[in-house]
């Protein structure tokens, strides 16, 4: 019997799937996201998982979660607090409950609420049976037992049947939010292509979850979120790491150069290596090197040979690569270094986000070794940042550090797919003959505009020359210990970075009368933007600007900062960019910091900014 259901319209929903590391929560979240994307909602996601592959089952450190926000309007963040928590066990409930507001929906897998599991996480009693969940809309569901019952007749092991409980949960949630499920069916067929019995079982578990929603009296209301008004075009949902990898592939295509990636596996950057290793067809060569130093060394060697040399890593890897980055500064070769930042120091919290490698990117090398630094602001923006990093590297013959972070690397959003022909033209010209008036070749004779030296890969007769880490004489590149020459070369290398053409920073201030500017860089764009929107909706004025080029900084930045009474700068570090801006522009930037391994919530930024505005 089907209970008639009331359908309620919502404009925005935040769901968090939480369970044990082995419960398949990342996959469940990913599938729900994909179904939601098909519907045309705007989306933002936040995966959150432990560094341990399988922490002890049922414990708090083993909790893995995936949060997805979707709306009928353009959204900037995966949401501060979930409206719905799917808790697959007591640990997932305990770990996530503090972040829920009263009234939130909690769907719990009651089968896992055993005495032993409750004890594991320190619950004195069963929270489902006392009043500790009072005020929440709790739906106790026997996810495991119902899945097992639904799969009784399937020729699979009990273990495999149990593992399908995430599909039961997905089916239930898909029903509850009226999601189209065709893409999940196709996905299951692809994923378990080699084991048809698992395709059937997982599909059956999904259907059982869906039907349970339809028939149970527990869920009286079903929800709908209408498609968002988005720019017309072709979309796909994309994580920052995938976008970054595709941006590097695109840079290779648009520069007509082979891409060479040297990389050593490191969380949270490894997915870029995985992705790029799939695109040999487009001329990408990937090398999993013996260590971080070899990875960048090989990329420098490939760049010397005329390829677009790239190395991808996280903070600890950049620390190891420092000496080779300095070599690339001296050699003046194009090189892209991707740092997907994670919480440090040392191993820190490898799967958690942070923005604390800015100082290292700007200053973390021996000698005067300036490089260009840029940071993407959202998952899809990683695509364009990779192209921009490549443009700067190729045009100015310099190492460029691209600072992504764990938040946007693993998070996802819909991406309006670009026309390839409209992407920047990155074609370069190699040295094709002697460049001196005397008919000789001078490897360090510079282009007067860009200050770039000729790129002369081996292979052309007559241009044989030697380069190296020793200081070079201007123009000839010969070894030189001349004091005046060294002073000149140090200043020239600095001027070369300062000469990089970067766009002016743009300020968003619909009121045109704000006294307070909130500045950000990198992945804080989403939460800062959402906070600004909320403030403006409440009639408060605030200006927002986001720094994409961190070295060199936009030429107009100083003037922009000086034109506001107060400049506030939230960063997921202890004030690294604020420090730079104070030193450079002598402006008393208000630094707002958090290093919790998690992105800012828009609510916390909203209340902080409100305070600043009121006191400005």
């Amino acid at each position: 019997m089907t209970v008639p259901k009331h359908v309620q319209q919502l404009d925005r929903v935040v769901i968090r799937f939480a369970g044990d590391s082995g419960d398949g929560m990342q996959l469940t979240g990913d599938r729900f996201t994909s179904e939601t994307a098909q519907l045309g909602n705007d989306i933002s996601t936040l995966p959150n998982f432990p560094a341990e592959i399988r922490a002890p089952a049922g414990t708090l450190p083993g909790v893995s979660s995936f949060q997805v926000a979707f709306a009928d309007y353009d959204i900037l963040t995966p949401g501060d607090t979930p409206n719905v928590l799917v808790a697959m066990n007591p640990a997932a409930l305990k770990a996530n409950l503090p972040e829920l507001r009263k009234g939130a929906t909690i769907i719990v897998n009651t089968d896992e609420f055993t005495k032993r599991n409750l004890q594991k996480v320190g619950y004195p009693g069963n929270p489902l049976e006392d009043d500790s969940l009072a005020g929440y809309d709790v739906h106790p569901v026997g996810l495991t037992s119902m899945t097992l019952r639904a799969l009784e007749d399937h020729p699979i092991s009990k273990k495999d049947a149990e593992r399908a409980k995430n599909m039961f949960a997905l089916g239930l949630l898909s029903w509850l939010y009226s999601r189209p499920y065709e893409s999940t069916m196709t996905f299951l067929e692809r994923k378990f292509a080699a084991r048809p019995e698992l395709v059937a079982a997982n599909k059956a578990a999904f259907s059982a979850g869906w039907s349970f929603g339809e028939t149970t009296e527990g869920f009286a209301v079903r929800y709908e979120v209408k498609p968002a008004q988005m720019k017309p075009g072709h979309y796909r949902n994309i994580t920052g790491n995938t976008a970054l990898a595709l941006g590097l592939v695109a840079a290779g295509v648009r520069s007509k150069l082979p891409v060479f990636l040297g990389a050593y596996p490191i969380t949270p950057a490894s997915d870029i290596l995985h992705e790029l290793s799939k695109h040999k067809k487009l001329g990408v060569t990937t090398m999993q090197a013996e260590d971080e130093i070899a990875a960048i060394g090989a990329a420098v060697g490939a760049a010397y040979g005329g390829a677009l040399g790239v190395t991808t890593t996280s903070g600890p890897g950049v620390a190891l690569k420092g000496e080779t980055i300095s070599l690339a500064v001296a050699l003046e070769l194009p090189l892209v270094i991707v740092d997907v930042q994670r919480a440090g120091p040392s191993t820190g919290m490898p799967t958690k986000t942070e923005q604390a490698d800015l100082n290292m990117a700007l200053f973390g090398r021996h000698g005067e070794a300036p490089v260009a630094v840029i940071a993407p602001q959202s998952p899809a923006d990683c695509f364009y940042a990779a192209i921009e990093a490549s443009r700067i590297a190729l045009t100015y013959r310099t190492p460029v550090i691209l600072l992504s972070d764990g938040y946007i690397a693993n998070g996802s959003e819909p991406w309006l797919l670009p026309e390839v022909s409209e992407l920047p033209d990155l074609q370069v010209s190699f040295a094709d003959g002697p460049n001196g008036e005397d008919g000789k070749f001078y490897p360090y004779l510079r282009d007067p505009q860009t200050l770039a030296r000729p790129w002369a890969p081996p292979g052309l007769a007559g241009l044989e020359h030697r380069i190296g880490g020793l200081e070079k004489a201007d123009k000839t590149g010969d070894i030189s210990y001349d004091p005046a020459n060294h002073d000149f070369m140090v200043r020239t290398r600095a001027a070369r970075i300062e000469a990089i053409d970067v766009p002016d920073i743009e300020v968003d201030d619909p009121s045109e009368s704000a006294n307070v500017l909130v500045l950000g860089w990198g992945s804080t764009y989403g939460p800062i933007g959402a906070a600004c929107r909320a403030l403006r909706q409440r009639g408060l004025n605030i200006a927002q600007a986001h720094v994409r080029h961190l070295s060199p900084l936009p030429a107009n930045l100083g003037d922009v900062l000086r034109s506001y009474d107060k400049v506030v700068l939230p960063e997921m570090n202890l004030g690294q960019l604020a420090h730079v801006l104070r030193a450079r522009y002598l402006i008393d930037v208000v630094s707002y910091n958090q290093v919790r391994g998690m992105p800012f919530t828009s609510a916390q930024l909203e209340s902080m900014l409100e305070e600043v505005i009121k006191n400005a």
């Binding site: 592939v249 695109h279 001329g283 130093i293 070899a294 490939a302 050699l331 026309e419 044989e464 030697r466």
Partner: protein, 343 residues
Amino acid sequence: MPSAPLQLSAKDFKSDQEVRWCPGCGDYAILAAMQGFLPELGVPRERIVFVSGIGCSSRFPYYLNTYGMHSIHGRAPAIATGLSVSRPDLQVWVVTGDGDALSIGGNHLIHALRRNVNLKILLFNNKIYGLTKGQYSPTSEVGKITKSTPAGSADYPFNPISLALGAEASFVARTIDSDRKHLTSILRAAAQHQGSAFVEIYQNCNIFNDNAFEVLKDAETRDDYLIRLEHGQPLTFGKEGQFAVTHPAGSFGLTVQNTSEVDGSELLVHDAHRDDPAYAFALSRLAGPDLRHTPVGVFRSVQRTSYDELVRGQVSKAKEKSSGDPEQDLTALLNSGDTWTIL
């Protein structure tokens, strides 16, 4: 590629840079041998690249009129790997020393060898740090008194040949700076090898470790100290051929006996192409700390597909599926997966 035979001489490979090694340094002899050898290689100058790390030997690229990179300490094999894999048209040589290759760069050396990257790696072994002025190196003998070890070094040394063999090297050889003919023959064999060629060159540092290899050079002693390895030739040596390398029954290794005491059937014939590296390894263990029974020549030379070829093969195979228009392929890639359209 030019089709006319190249008419190059040693002079064509001399760069315009002033050579700045100490007078009497063994590096001069190696440089001269290299400049003398390169013309016969038949590879145009612009297709030859020398990559080095840091140390006295690593100045080598500056003095050759080819392409070259003097990089950073220990990293030359890694840099050269990236270059070699992405540019199959080049012949890439790595010049390194005992400190550069075996201490700070040990990791890159062993991994280049196991991958079998198409590099010719020349390790100038003088058993001392020269450029930093005389500290002991990873090939210095135990007890070595140096500036950093006034009471004698406590470090047990590497045997570079054993190390290279343990790292799965497909070509391993040793030669000596002062024997130009032998040195040239080894450079030739290394250049012809497809894959990593590892060559240890005993090189004299006349400032900080003079005469370290004198017994191998002195006309009085050398013939009794050196075992000249030649593929297909019996492993006998000595002024009168009075010594023979044998494989005693029940032993894992090789030993040296008086030829007169050896039955003809026990005489070993050098086989550099043996697949099992244990034989070459046993040869590498013959010499003692006094350098008596030091084999020179090619220890091992076996065929194994190079890393470069395997990597490029994967790329070429993938490219067969390309439409021929990279922009079209990129468009298809960007539009792959679950996409949707907003009208």
